[in-house]
Structure formats: structure tokens, C-alpha cells
């Protein structure tokens, strides 16, 4: 406490010296005079009353466009979600909540056909766009056509995969027909990544023309509680109350969606100065965030979906001596010399203290996990929870039992004469590098030597087929990053079938990055694609998760969530990691 006091004094001394220097100049006059500051504060309060109720939302990554179709970032999706609405949203637990639709279609209410080939949505009555014109089923059809046009370059087209057609039966009824039985038909038009856009406004913006529609892209019409009135690219969006909103009129007169800066100062602007009402995605050192929260102005809130930070275990041999054949699957002929021997990656998994990583490095934003499908809860397996406690002795014993021992006394175990030296890559990011360092230390305690590598995120995730440093090429023994399932895990699980292994032939295009092939997994996955939502589907997902985790293709570490902060005076916030954090902005008030 004493040390802190002294350093504060020093800070003040330095700044006083600076202020002295500045006082020499009339242009910097506002620096001096406490009475002047007090006057201004009063003036500011008066101004607040005149301007009405303003909600200031701070995103340290500024929105490039308000909407998810041409720019795939969360910031863009969320800036859009203040005004654009889908047919239904997910709530924080992953349950569906109707927005523009009257109800959620199910097999029971006849909204989903028995053969799982189609789903029928009905729009609420009397919906209007923010300019007063009618919302019709044609707008929904148009949204689909807009996004699936290849020349549009739509960033949300993933959600429309497998859709044969979208048709308007009448002004309020939409039928979506699939090209094959689709047990989970809620991907399209549900959630903030596929909201409905106006077919009138965007009529001339389909395909290549989408790249030139400046006004439409920056000021889209919406159906939500607020409508956008000004958008400054990569800076700020301003919204006002939408008089044509279908629900209760929104509380705030103006919403300001400001971007830029960094996460720590965004947290400070809410928790310490109260200048903003809400700050998003606070990737800040956990201790610093706790200190800021202690100031008492606001609270830190977190929500978790399926994102899992995990280590992928290369099942193929990445030895650079192999040249072009490194990390090539070659029909199983190029297996990794020791990581395919299950006890070794099992011991590596046992040696990790997931709770420590989660608490120390992720703080509010992390929960230790042993599953690659950690949520929603009804899909999460409990079979692997043993990994939550670190067991270095057990790991050593396991390796000893399996005759993986250190025979030459250099502190590194050998398997079939091959020393256990692994290379471990990830993207450049301080939390990831700290995780790497911790894990290297634990692995050294079980006789495994680790070489740590990191690449800039834009290269590592960049997918440039000419770069050797991408996660798809996977030219190391292990690598670490986060991905996660959407609300229905089928899409995510589809990545890990044998046919998805990235290789030269498919220009490293598959999602089975760890290059593991398990026929049982493929058979169960095939079954999953035929099984409608329910208990049987849940059991299948758990089985698929367990095969993946227990084959040690992937070593899950931390379930990562979203962390935000809001002022104590802002009520109604219900942070959501399955959907946009703005999903219920209509209910926010003071």
C-alpha cells in the first residue's frame, strides 16, 4: 500500500511539471483551474438533460459495417443487431426465443415436416421496417438470395448451407426446403448472424454490386428497437428510437455505438470513469479487471458458449526431413512416430493444470473443460471430467507402465528409441504464450521436451496455401487455438470425419486439422445427421465428443466465454455468448 502511495506521488509530480509547461500557452488553457472544471461539469449535466437518455456502448474494435453479411466480425454483427433482427434469437442458455416469428416451429406444432426436409416460419402480424414500409415474407426470401449469391461474398453463407429453396407461401409464411433431411433446421434466420434485410432497399445490391452499395451497407433499414441514423466507418454508429418497432417502445432516445482504443481503457471507461454504459469483450488481465470492478461503478459479466481453447495433437509426422510429405495423411501411412501412441498424449493431458490456466490467465473469461463440446449443457459429456485435476505423478506412472522411459539419462523419455521432443505452435497472443510456457514446464516434469513457436494471427489463421506457418498446414507436433460448436454441434463435429483431413490434394481445405481418422466416429456421425433433436441426438453428440477426446486427437483446456462490463445503473443486460450481446437491447433501461 505504501509503495503504491509513493508512486502515485511521483506520478503527480511529473504531471505537475508537465502542467507547468503547458500553462505557458494560452491554447492549452483548459488544463488549469479547478473552478472552470466544476462549471463545465454543471454545463455537462444540463447538456445531458437536453439531449435525453443516451446509451453509450463501447467496442474496442470498431465496427466496419453494421451487419453480418459483408463483414464477419462480432463487432459488425453486434452493430447490426441493435437495429437488424432475425426470425428468432438464442437466449444465454442456448434456447430459441422468437423475434420476428410468431413461434418456434417444431415437429410437434407442425412447423417442421416429419421427414425433416422443410421448416415453416410465420412472421408476426403488422411488422414494419424503420421507414414505415411493410416487412413481408419476400424480405426473408430476398435475404437468402442475397447471401447465397457467390459474387456477394457473403460472410454468413455458412448458415444457409444445405438449403434447397426459401419460398414465400403468403405475405407472412416462409417455407425453407432442405436438400437432405436436416435434424437441426434452425441455422438460417436464427441468431444475429442472419438477420432479415429489406428487399426494397437492397434490391440493386445483390452479387458484385454489393461491393459498391455505400449507403445501403452503412445505413440499413431495420426492424429492431432502434434505427441507425449515422455510421462512421471504423468509428461510431448512432441510432435513435425506432417509431415502427413491433414491441414496447425502447427506453433510450439515442444509442451510441463507439469503437476504437483498447480493451483495458474500454473497461476503465465503464468501471472507473462511468463515461460509457457498456463495454464489450474485455480481454484484460484478470487481476486488473478485478481492481477496476472494485471501484464500484459497474459490474463485470461473463457468458459462456462452446468455444474451447485446445491443443491439437498431430496424428501425422511433421518431420521437416519429409519435405513436401510432412503432415500429409497418406492414407495413414505417415503416422506420427509417438503421438499416435495414446498413453503419451494421455500423460500430456494429465500433466496440465487446467484450473490454474483458467483462473490465472483467463479469469472471468474461462472455465476449465475436458470436452470439445462443452455446451449447451444437455450436449456436454461428463465422462472426461477426471482431467480437471492435474496428476503429474499419475502421468509419470502411466508412461513408465507403457515402457516409455528415459533410457539415456538426459531427462527426456524415449519411445521406440525416439526422444519425446515436441514442437508446439500457436498464434502470437500474450495469454497463449503464457499458457505455452506453463504447459512446457509441466511437460518437462514428465520427461517431454517442448519447443514453443508462435506466429502472427493473420498468418497463422490466414490460410495462405503458400505459407508453411498456417494452422491448416500444421507443420508442428502440436498446436493450440480456439474453435467451438454453434448451438447445434453437428456442423462442428462434421469437421472431424476422415474425409475432412487437409492435404496437398485439397489445398489443405478440410477441417480435420489434427488428421485423425476413426471409422467408428464416421459411422456415428452419419447416424447423427439422421437423428432429430432429442435424447438420442444428445447421446450421440456425447459419444462423438468422447471418441475425439479419448483418442487424444485434441486436448481441451479452457471453455472461453465473453466478458463485458456495464454500469450498475444500466438494467436489463443479459449477456449472451450464443448470440449477439445486443440480442435483448430492447429491454435495456436505467
Amino acid at each position: 500500500m505504501m509503495g503504491r502511495h509513493i508512486s502515485t506521488l511521483r506520478v503527480i509530480a511529473v504531471l505537475l511539471a508537465m502542467a507547468f509547461l503547458l500553462a505557458a500557452c494560452p491554447a492549452a488553457a483548459p488544463t488549469g483551474g479547478e473552478s472552470m472544471a466544476a462549471d463545465e461539469e454543471m454545463a455537462e449535466e444540463e447538456a445531458m438533460e437536453e439531449e435525453g437518455k443516451v446509451l453509450t456502448i463501447l467496442y474496442w474494435q470498431a465496427a466496419s459495417l453494421p451487419g453480418p453479411y459483408l463483414s464477419g466480425g462480432t463487432k459488425d454483427q453486434d452493430a447490426g443487431a441493435v437495429t437488424l433482427e432475425p426470425l428468432a434469437n438464442y437466449d444465454p442458455d442456448g434456447a430459441l426465443v422468437p423475434k420476428l416469428a410468431t413461434e418456434i416451429p417444431t415437429i410437434e406444432n407442425g412447423g417442421i415436416s416429419e421427414d425433416l426436409m422443410s421448416i415453416t416460419w410465420t412472421l408476426k402480424e403488422g411488422l414494419a421496417w424503420s421507414d414505415g414500409s411493410d416487412v413481408t415474407a419476400d424480405d426473408v426470401v430476398f435475404t437468402w438470395q442475397y447471401c447465397i449469391d457467390e459474387a456477394t461474398g457473403c460472410t454468413a453463407s455458412e448458415a444457409f448451407l444445405g438449403i434447397e429453396s426459401v419460398e414465400a407461401l403468403d405475405a407472412r409464411t416462409i417455407v425453407i426446403t432442405f436438400d437432405s433431411p436436416t435434424p437441426y433446421p434452425y441455422n438460417a434466420f436464427v441468431g444475429a448472424n442472419t438477420p432479415i434485410i429489406s428487399s426494397v432497399q437492397f434490391a440493386d445490391c445483390v452479387g458484385a454490386a454489393a461491393q459498391t452499395c455505400n449507403e445501403q451497407n452503412t445505413l440499413p433499414l431495420g426492424t429492431g428497437p432502434y434505427r441507425i441514423i449515422d455510421f462512421k466507418v471504423n468509428d461510431v454508429a448512432v441510432y435513435e428510437r425506432n417509431p415502427h418497432y413491433h414491441g414496447e417502445p425502447a427506453y433510450f432516445d439515442t444509442v451510441i455505438f463507439k469503437g476504437g482504443g483498447d480493451a483495458a481503457s474500454a473497461a476503465r471507461a465503464v468501471l472507473e470513469t462511468g463515461e460509457a454504459d457498456y463495454a464489450w469483450n474485455l480481454q484484460v488481465e484478470p487481476d486488473i479487471l478485478r481492481d477496476m470492478e472494485a471501484a464500484g461503478l459497474g459490474v463485470v459479466v461473463a457468458a459462456f458458449a462452446g468455444s474451447v481453447e485446445r491443443i491439437l495433437v498431430n496424428q501425422t509426422n511433421p518431420d521437416s526431413a519429409l519435405g513436401d510429405d510432412r503432415s500429409e495423411y497418406m492414407d495413414g501411412e505417415n503416422a506420427h512416430p509417438f503421438l499416435t501412441f495414446a498413453p503419451i498424449p494421455q500423460a500430456m493431458s494429465m500433466a496440465i493444470d487446467r484450473s490454474l490456466i483458467s483462473e490465472q490467465l483467463y479469469g472471468f473469461a474461462g472455465q476449465p473443460t475436458c470436452n470439445v463440446i462443452p455446451a449447451p449443457l444437455h450436449y456436454a459429456s461428463t465422462a472426461n471430467d477426471g482431467c480437471l485435476t492435474q496428476d503429474i505423478d499419475g502421468a509419470n506412472a502411466l508412461l513408465d507402465e507403457n515402457d516409455v522411459v528415459d533410457s539415456d539419462g538426459d531427462g527426456i523419455r524415449e519411445y521406440n528409441g525416439m526422444p519425446l521432443k515436441v514442437s508446439y505452435q500457436t498464434s502470437t497472443n500474450s495469454v497463449r504464450q503464457k499458457t505455452q510456457a506453463l504447459i512446457r514446464q509441466w511437460w518437462s516434469q514428465i520427461g517431454i521436451e517442448t519447443e514453443l513457436i508462435n506466429h502472427d494471427a493473420s498468418v497463422f489463421f490466414g490460410g495462405d496455401p503458400n505459407s508453411p506457418d498456417t494452422y491448416q498446414k500444421f507443420y508442428t507436433d502440436l498446436q493450440m487455438y480456439t474453435t467451438g460448436p454453434s448451438i447445434d454441434p453437428q456442423q462442428h463435429l462434421s469437421n472431424w470425419v476422415c474425409s475432412q483431413i487437409p492435404m496437398r490434394e485439397n489445398v489443405w481445405g478440410g477441417g480435420n486439422i489434427f488428421r485423425g481418422c476413426n471409422t467408428e466416429y464416421d459411422a456415428l456421425f452419419e447416424q447423427l445427421t439422421q437423428t432429430p433433436v432429442g435424447g438420442e441426438r444428445e447421446a450421440l453428440v456425447k459419444q462423438l465428443n468422447d471418441i475425439n477426446v479419448q483418442s487424444f486427437y485434441q486436448i481441451p483446456l479452457v471453455n472461453r466465454g465473453g466478458v463485458s462490463a456495464h454500469l450498475n445503473t444500466l438494467k436489463g443486460v443479459n449477456i449472451n455468448d450464443w448470440d449477439s450481446e445486443m440480442w435483448n437491447i430492447a429491454e435495456w433501461h436505467r
Binding site: E40, G73, T212
Partner: protein, 338 residues
């Protein structure tokens, strides 16, 4: 002089073309991909579609040619149209340089939107810096080794050895968090309509201007001081003093005038830096100026935006180099260009 100017102006053209080629080539060859910032769940085929829609698939010469045409023909035409509200040819169909990060938004519009904030904050900081630095430099030189000089030297040393991100953070912690005098979020939508909004504008600019001004002033003050010290022992100074002029007159009319020649050049050369913004300071205080635009574009791999902004900076540097040379010629009668 006239002939010299024409020659210099003509050499600018090949210089700029060479610069544009280098910028374009370097950025095109650099690793990185605008779709890398998209969520990892998006499939490779879809990423490919997006790249295609952005025109990333075209070969290098086509992309370069297209950009040259858009930048040197289409953009100036659009600028003229907007400025005079006229129609030249088929304006609707003319392809402009548009951003990859914010598709559909012309890069030039983004730059124009950012310009006022940068000019106001960085420009003001520059003016503040000059206003502080020159008097301090002059007094420090005249009273060399006095207390004032020692303190000035010390503060200048602090000024240019502490990085702006540190002073910026200190200021936020002290003036925003502890004292709550100034806002830490710069509101770009603030309209100056009356006295109060003007005061608000001054309040929100105070910290970034102070941080930048302090840094600039430190350098300029040292430069002015040494330039003054070069001139003080000169014979013409002794002559003027011997003629019985008062010290103040000698300092202002003789020493300062001659000492300012290199300082003015330095100031002119620094003006492009105003336009390029102060990347770090803008980021810290959320002043959405050109510096913040550039750094954001680099993070998003928004290549057309980076190319255009960098090229504009290069253009300004070339032009202000020329201006500095010309000013030097005007101020210093000993230098004659031919």
C-alpha cells in the same frame, strides 16, 4: 528559381509512380489475408468466395493497373463532382477504390471523414508545441546554464524520452480516472454549435493535444536552443550590440531571425506527420483520425485502404520536402537555386 521549381515538380511524377509501385508490390506480396479476421468457423470455400468478391484473385498487374486507374482518374473525378455538385460522365458506374473491411465504402470518403479530427488534434498539438518550444528555446540559449535552462533541458529530456503511450496513460489515470476533469473517449460526433460545445471540444482535445504537444515541444525547444547558440557568438551579433541596441532588440531582430531558418525547415518537414496522425495517441484517446484509420486497416488486412493512405502520406512527404527547400531559399538569402 522558376526553372528550378518546374524541374522539381516534374521529378515528383516519376518519384510518386515509383513509390506507388513499391507500396503496392510490398503490400501485395506481404503475407496475410483479409478473411483471416473472420470467425474460424467459416469454411475455406466460403472464404474463397469472399476473396473473389473482393477481387483478390486477380493477377498483380491487373490489380495494380485497376488501382492506378481508380486512384488517379476515378477518385479525382468523384472529388470534383462532389466539390462542385456536377456530373462528369457516368459517375454512378465509375469504380472507386473501396475498402475491403467496410465493403462498399469508398476509401477516399473514409479518409475525408477522418481528416478533420486529425487536423484539429494533431495540428493543434503542433501549434501548441511551436508556441511553447520557441520561447523556451530562446530563453534557454540566452541564459545558458541558468536554472531556467537546466530545468528546460531536464523537461525536454523527459519529453522526448518518455513515449506518448506512457504519458497518455498517465494523463488518463490522473485527469480522467482520479480527477474526472477530461473525458477519455473522444466524441467524433460532437458538433460545435455554441460556446458550450466548443468548450466541450477543447476539453476532449486537451489530453491528446497535451501529450502530443509535449513530445513535439521537447524536440523543437532543443533544436531552437542549439540553433540560437550557434548564432550568439557571431560577429554580426557583437556588431549589433556594439551599436548600442538593447538586448531584446538584438535577440529578436538579429539572432532569432537567423536561428529560425533551420527551425522553420524542420517544422515544414514535420507537417506531413500531422496528416499521418499520431497513430499511438489517436489509438489511446479514441480520436478516430488518420493514424487510427491506418492502424485499423493494417490489422484487418484492408489492403486498398492501407495502399491509399500510405500513398497519400508519401505524396505529402514529397511535396513538403519541396516546400521546405523553397522556404529555405526564401528565408536564407545566401541560398539561390538555379
Amino acid at each position: 528559381m522558376g526553372q528550378y521549381l518546374v524541374r522539381r515538380l516534374l521529378t515528383i511524377i516519376p518519384t510518386l509512380i515509383a513509390i506507388s509501385f513499391v507500396i503496392f508490390a510490398v503490400l501485395d506480396l506481404a503475407p496475410g489475408d483479409p478473411t483471416s479476421q473472420l470467425p474460424e468457423t467459416i469454411r475455406p470455400e466460403i472464404r474463397q468466395q469472399i476473396r473473389k468478391a473482393m477481387g483478390l484473385d486477380e493477377p498483380f498487374p491487373v490489380k495494380y493497373g485497376l488501382w492506378m486507374r481508380q486512384f488517379f482518374v476515378n477518385e479525382p473525378l468523384s472529388l470534383l463532382e462532389n466539390a462542385f455538385d456536377i456530373q462528369i460522365g457516368d459517375g454512378e458506374k465509375r469504380l472507386r477504390v473501396t475498402s475491403w473491411g467496410s465493403r462498399g465504402v469508398p476509401v477516399m470518403d473514409m479518409i475525408m471523414e477522418r481528416m478533420p479530427q486529425t487536423l484539429w488534434v494533431v495540428g493543434l498539438a503542433y501549434i501548441v508545441a511551436i508556441a511553447i518550444a520557441v520561447p523556451i528555446g530562446v530563453v534557454s540559449a540566452i541564459r545558458q546554464y541558468s536554472i531556467f535552462d537546466q530545468v528546460g533541458t531536464f523537461i525536454s529530456l523527459i519529453g522526448y524520452s518518455i513515449p506518448t503511450f506512457f504519458t497518455g496513460l498517465l494523463m488518463i489515470l490522473l485527469f480522467s480516472v482520479k480527477l474526472k476533469w477530461f473525458p477519455m473517449i473522444y466524441d467524433t460526433n460532437l458538433q460545435i454549435v455554441d460556446w458550450r460545445s466548443f468548450v466541450e471540444q477543447l476539453r476532449q482535445s486537451a489530453m491528446p493535444v497535451a501529450v502530443l504537444g509535449f513530445f513535439q515541444a521537447a524536440i523543437l525547444a532543443r533544436f531552437t536552443r542549439s540553433s540560437m547558440l550557434d548564432n550568439i557568438p557571431m560577429d554580426y551579433v557583437r556588431t549589433a550590440t556594439a551599436k548600442g541596441f538593447r538586448e531584446r532588440y538584438v535577440v529578436i531582430r538579429h539572432i532569432l531571425r537567423n536561428s529560425l531558418i533551420p527551425v522553420v525547415t524542420l517544422i515544414a518537414l514535420g507537417i506531413p506527420a500531422i496528416f499521418s496522425g499520431a497513430i499511438i495517441t489517436e489509438q489511446i484517446f479514441r480520436v478516430n483520425g488518420l493514424g487510427a484509420l491506418l492502424i485499423g486497416a493494417i490489422q484487418l488486412n484492408d489492403i486498398p485502404l492501407v495502399q491509399t493512405v500510405t500513398f497519400i502520406f508519401a505524396f505529402l512527404i514529397v511535396v513538403f520536402n519541396l516546400i521546405a527547400d523553397v522556404i529555405y531559399g526564401i528565408l536564407d538569402p545566401r541560398i539561390r537555386y538555379s
